[in-house]
Amino acid sequence: MNVKTYSKDQLLAWYETMYKMRRFEEEVFEFYKQGLMPGLAHLYMGEEAVATGVCAALNDSDFIGSTHRGHGHLIARGADIKRMMAEILGKVDGYCRGKGGSMHIMAMDKGILGANGIVGGGIPIATGAAYMAKYKKTGQVAVSFFGDGASNEGTFHESINMAAAWDLPVIYVLENNLYGISVDIRDVTNTPNLADRAIGYGIPGVIVDGMDVTEVYEAAKAAIERARSGAGPTLIECKTYRWQGHHVGDPATYRKRKSETEKEDWMAKCPIDCLKAEMLSTKKAKASDFEAIETAVNKEIEESVNFAKESPYPDVSEVFHDIYV
């Protein structure tokens, strides 16, 4: 982990973002366990370095397209966690006034084109935002987040092909967490490194350790600069792992087929703990620096939980709002 290059403030900001994601989702999981959350949610725990590193390299005016596992992407873009939490509970103060839920949170004021319930559904949408930026010469770029599963959808191949053909300012961030629900990507795909698919489209394909926020940031920064300069898209494969099941109700009993200790091995690479340990051992920061951040984030999370609980459900009359036909 390359912490030397970065300032203390920069590194602590990344720590704060990742810690916030983790704490946010711990509360979401609690909501589910207590029966307070309608439906399900797909947790990003373990993958926090990816969204944090990528979004740290973006400008405020850029776009991102997210997935069904989108809480981390939204928090990394600075979405309001009160409104996120309220949406997850189906409340009227949520981003979508309770019409979207965890899987469909959109925040256009943060350039978030939406989480998406369809695997691969958001990839062409982010690509279209990049087309707009190129045509209108706005200087914006778009990041499309998606998983290893989506990289087997047609929309991945169609989008990346068009973006490459037309040098669109888009960055494809493939979060390879190894599983599509229970199916191991290694059992259904004969491409050990999914980044290699970039070769077929004539664009750079980069492999990074998705558990290391500094490595993700460096790759994202280079890809974003390339996109903004007009040189076209990049595919970044972040090797990562989801700690929980596919969703909060999935006990994930399928993980030990390749290795008895697979989950534990990945958890030992926790992106949050590892950054903290590295900063402490290199004396980039003191224990008290982390304590201060954690205290502040915990307070913010608690406020978001209370806000969401107290927010009312939408009035039933709203079911017919926001649609013309």
Binding site: P124, I125, G128, E158
Partner: protein, 324 residues
């Protein structure tokens, strides 16, 4: 007034709207260099350039999805699917994305995009290039469904589609593209959800879509000579549906035929017939009739295809059956 083809009318609508608004961008297969498979974008590449008139690869889900992203970020994409059958290749982006994003986002965004797609049989194109998808897509909340009749109507309705802030499916009839029509020199946008009574009559009402409006008028002229007075309504849009105009007409004539080229099962006739039962039951003198494509895939051989296409003759016979 001038005489132009239906394809030229479409092209004029695109041109006039693109001239007016630089946010309008065309995407589709073969639309740019050759001006479209049905010649509906001839000359637009030269006038507006490659970024606004974009030939795409054969990636319907990909470029329709790109259109959604463009619409979310300030452009007004007009996408051509070479045949309406290809909607099924792009169905997720049309139905799960474009149709739902405004609603799912709690009204944060609009999705102002138009998908143009030719419908209809009659070219021996067989079952994968001859379907009429307007009834199927009308099932999904969030999509406006337009079925223009003449070139004049197509031009006016396409302008409205491009200016609307919602996703619009705009179905052009492929057998009309090369036909000539009289079109006003200036065509204003035609509002959605306002059916057009194109012929007044007193014995029976035909509410029709697309090409069947013209076929119904032709049948009505023939019937007029035989003493049967037919009212013909051009529905213009299936969604939103102007049921009130149909109800008013049925109150006068007491009889209704719904003519639409999509398959009969769960079709436009089923919807309008049911609504008329709910809203004008006691004015009906006969069960509502339908003229559709029967429930089989479109066959290749003209010997098989033409007998099942809704025709002037089938409309004529249906009227005679119901009136006599």
């Amino acid at each position: 007034m001038k005489e132009i083809t239906y394809a030229q009318a479409i092209c004029e609508a695109l041109d006039e709207e693109m001239e007016r608004d630089e946010n309008i961008v065309l995407l589709g297969e073969d639309i740019s260099f050759i001006g479209g498979n049905f010649k509906t974008s001839v000359g637009l590449l030269e006038k507006y350039g490659d970024m606004r008139v974009k030939d795409t690869p054969i990636s319907e889900a990909g470029f329709v999805g790109m259109g959604v992203g463009m619409a979310l970020t300030g452009l007004r994409p007009v996408i051509e699917l070479m045949f309406s059958d290809f909607l099924l290749v792009a169905a997720d982006q049309v139905i799960n994305q474009a149709a739902k994003i405004r609603y799912m986002s709690g009204g944060q965004v609009n999705v102002p995009m138009v998908i143009r797609a030719p419908i209809g049989a009659g070219r021996s194109s067989a079952a994968q290039h001859s379907q009429s998808m307007q009834a199927m897509v009308s099932q999904f909340p969030g999509l406006i469904v337009v079925v223009p009749s003449t070139a004049q109507e197509a031009k006016g309705l396409l302008k409205t589609a491009i200016r609307d802030n919602n996703p619009v499916l705009f179905f052009e009839h492929k057998m009309e593209y090369n036909k000539k029509f009289l079109v006003d020199d200036v065509v204003e946008p035609i509002p959605f959800g306002k059916a057009n009574v194109v012929r007044e009559g007193k014995d029976i009402t035909i509410v029709a879509t697309s090409s069947l409006v013209m076929k119904s008028q032709e049948a009505a002229e023939k019937l007029e000579k035989e003493g049967i007075s037919v009212e013909v309504i051009d529905l213009r849009t299936i969604v939103p549906l102007d049921i009130d105009t149909v109800v008013e007409s049925v109150k006068k004539t007491g009889k209704l035929i719904v003519a639409d080229e999509a398959h009969e099962r769960c079709g436009v006739g089923a919807e309008i017939g049911f609504q008329i039962m709910e809203k004008a039951f006691y004015y009906l003198d006969a069960p509502v009739g339908r003229v559709n494509t029967p429930n089989v895939p479109l066959p290749f051989s003209p010997a098989l295809e033409f007998p099942i296409i809704p025709s002037v003759d089938r409309i004529y016979k249906k009227v005679v059956e119901m009136v006599k």
